[in-house]
Symmetry: C2
Subunit: 509 residues, 2 copies
């Protein structure tokens, strides 16, 4: 595509340019805002063109795309709770850390926002481009660079999917235990500090990252740590970049700890007469000290969704249901199953549906893993699914699920609930007609009431999806302006021009 | 003590004042340094006096001590690898977060350094006062404020010891699993991001802190999170303050996750013909996926130290030895013991010395826990012990222990080695005559060569003690100036006057 067409061809690109202009004119008309120390002013059209031309000169013509479909794919997501009417202006496709650094240097020089992109499956518009700028797509940086079985770690690039990664290293007897949605990639998983069903045993992303190679706003490349599994040396920069959603730097290499594939794994499913009895069982399992590998709750609606989507051969009873994963040495697994069976019986749990068949086990667990996809599969023309998560102190999980479900029911919304019940983390997926603004408004209000409810219970507006654009207001409610002020100071110190994924987590102004 | 005596009575206080003056005069004579954006200039004598008088007015006469012995106790440590010739000028004894905030406001206004103090057992001069200032001793903030068994968490103040904490909550069936030296307190444990023998199963401090209440440099009080066990909401400030050694703020309240006391626990000890065979056993235990509760290595010297110090009833064989802790459901513990017994036999491990007696179990494990104290107990008049730690990727632990031991032996130093072998973390304690500068120099060189060796192996200069004053140069070697530059920017953004525990982790200039 010619450079002259670059910013004129796509309505969406134009939208973006207006946005940039709007921002600049807002600032020139609001000298008070401009006086604030941290009000970014981004490049105008001519400078953007210069930067793209420069980068094409340095990295090759193909390294920067301005193709409309490409821009759309990098600025819009059907998974996301919200989408905006602005797209990135260009997509960069770096192949090395050095190229990422060159991109950052150019963007820094010309004041152009940079938005990292890997799996594109985040849910809170985490990779949307409200100020336009360059989406940095890591798809060519998708390699496992080094596997070190004796150190139980590996180093990889951002665009490796966690499932692919586990397939690639299975021969070593090791695996990476953080298991979010199937399409997530390590880069984005670092960005949102994600987790998944294994978190109750293995913890979340921040417990598994040993070090990061990060390209800072001005193109400087740093490594946050060397490669020990444990370190008390200096500030925990690794833990700061994990979960910062690309607002502090672009992660280009990740060293991950690995766990040993357990000697034996087993999956069991138990249905319960009520959400309360399922939750009571889960808590008694935790409090009895049975080291469960995973423990998930799915409500009757979600079980129906699994049945309707035909995700498993078996038809499941449509009641509140607990999914258990057991793992460990063979005798331990057997013992844990017996103890859990006894605890669930006490709460009126049904038969212990217990798949010995490895394939069925996989299908069963993937039905849980793909719950959101099952929900998506049931959409009719014009339907959309709003999927969100909150987390609360353990004892409040049953309360918040029950209250939130009742509210959805009362409003006649089709919504399913599932939760990482050992972590107090709960997801709700709500189906709605996207062409009906009134219905969307109802859903949105329900979601934010649920978030407020979580905060009242001393919980968080997101357990594992991040803030993105979608939950900025909730974060202010959650932590208050002084705490967010600390985050802003850190952001300003590392990204003084405000070009790293701007508009995410908090507003800069 | 009268205010007029305040800064004149103690030689050590005077030393401090000269230090302040020296710094100021250094700056006035070095305009280039003064031009740098972040060169702190601290209060002079008159201002210090004003601040102390103000604080006494606000908090009561007893809230600020300038007693010589008190100053000494807060600036000097017999545990520490180094001590300096400067002491704090005053010790503040706050009773509430509000009082800590008042102290910070006064120190901020008058540019006075603040150094947090709790257990005083850190090893790298983490609470030394190179620029004088006020040591903030949390000894009156030593309460468990709330225990919430149903949420499996608690909130406490900084000066609760972890052992006392566990005694106080034992009735709930829960415990806090991070287990550093017996005298450590939660505040300091947050500061140094410590760990201990349980880390191989439970992880380190940063995995167990839910939220922190922090008083910032200017007295602002923030809470880093609400109280969910899992959160992806905004920057991980909790994880940033953990391990920042008081250089970013003063932690006044800590919410900790708790774990369930396992159904059964067992301890076993096995001796090995060589360090290599012990290490090989440890690695095979890890790689077989046996979920060990703890696994420690002690060399023949350390075993001799335990014998000589009479820490247990039993006399131990003085060879390289592995200590195992097993925990879980009863059958699992039995199965894990059998599997480990088999693996150790394959490497020539001796009989599985297996204490069933709960008291002996406790004594045995505490012999491991109190290894450093045993070493200290063997000091003769004039002796000192230099205790330090490094961590390396798992596969290199045996190498570094072996090389380092040989070097000590060749130099005729009495040194013992012990390690958290499942984490690649290793401690060395070296006895020396503190009145013999030549011997001290030899020890110091040995220590820093060991650190360099760890870095060459892609390890870290400290696995769990922190940087303090002792390892600043090593940190520069470990991470390089660009990475430390990021830390400094963060520090400058949150502590623009450089008054929070200055001189620790990195130099501000």
């Amino acid at each position: 595509m010619e450079a002259s067409r670059l910013f004129g061809g796509a309505t969406r690109s134009l939208t973006y340019l207006y946005c940039i202009n709007d921002t600049s004119s807002f600032l020139s008309q609001n000298p008070a805002a401009a006086r604030k120390p941290y009000v970014p002013v981004y490049a105008k059209k001519a400078e953007l063109e210069r930067a793209v031309a420069e980068l094409r000169g340095q990295l090759g013509e193909d390294a920067i795309s301005t193709d409309d479909e490409d821009l759309h794919r990098h600025g819009y997501s059907e998974w996301s709770s919200i989408n905006i009417d602005v797209l990135p202006v260009a997509v960069a496709y770096p192949k090395t850390t050095e190229e990422v650094s060159q991109i950052a240097k150019a963007c820094y020089q010309h004041k152009i926002p940079m938005i990292p992109y890997s799996g594109g499956s985040s849910l809170e518009a985490n990779f949307a481009a409200p100020f336009g700028g360059v989406s940095v797509d890591f798809c060519f940086m998708d390699k496992v660079l080094a596997l070190r079985p004796d150190d139980m770690d590996l180093t990889c690039q951002p665009a490796v999917g966690w499932m692919s990664l586990n397939e690639q290293i299975a021969h070593s007897g090791l695996f990476f235990p953080v298991d979010p949605g199937p399409s997530a990639m390590i880069g984005g998983m670092v960005g949102t500090s994600c987790s998944g069903t294994n978190a109750v045993r293995y913890g979340t992303m921040k417990e598994w990252v040993v070090n990061l190679t990060v390209v800072l706003a001005d193109g400087t490349v740093i490594k946050t740590k060397r490669r020990p599994r444990k370190s008390a040396a200096g500030y925990n920069l690794t833990g700061l970049f994990v979960g910062s959603e690309g607002t502090l730097g672009l992660v280009t290499e990740i060293t991950l700890k690995l766990a040993v594939i357990p000697q034996e794994t087993s999956v069991a499913v138990v249905n319960f007469p009520s959400l309360r009895s399922a939750a009571a069982t889960a808590m008694s399992v935790v409090r009895t000290g049975i080291p469960i590998a995973a423990m998930e709750i799915m409500d009757e609606v979600q079980m129906g969704v699994v049945n309707k989507a035909g995700a498993t051969k078996k038809k499941w009873k449509e009641t509140p249901t607990l999914f258990f994963k057991f793992s460990g040495t063979p005798g331990a697994v057997k013992e844990h199953i017996e103890q859990v069976r006894e605890l669930s019986r006490k709460q009126g749990g049904g038969d212990f549906d217990f798949t010995r068949d490895a394939e069925e086990q996989k299908a069963l667990w993937s039905a849980r893993k793909e719950a959101l996809w099952s929900m998506m599969a049931l959409r009719r023309e014009g339907d959309d699914v709003w999927s969100t998560d909150v987390a609360v102190p353990l004892s409040r999980l049953a309360d918040i699920i029950e209250i939130s479900k009742k509210e959805m029911d009362d409003l006649g919304l089709f919504a399913s609930a599932l939760g990482h019940i050992g972590d107090g983390n709960f997801h709700e997926s709500i189906m709605f007609n996207k062409n009906d603004p009134e219905e969307r408004r109802k859903v949105q209000e329900c979601v934010y009431r649920m978030v407020d409810r979580a905060l009242e219970m001393e919980g968080t507006c997101t357990g594992e999806h991040g803030i993105g654009l979608g939950k900025k207001a909730s974060l202010v409610k959650e932590l208050g302006l002084d705490t967010i002020g600390v985050m802003k100071k850190i952001k300003a110190s590392l990204d003084p021009l405000g070009i790293m994924n701007p508009g995410k987590i908090f507003d800069l102004q």
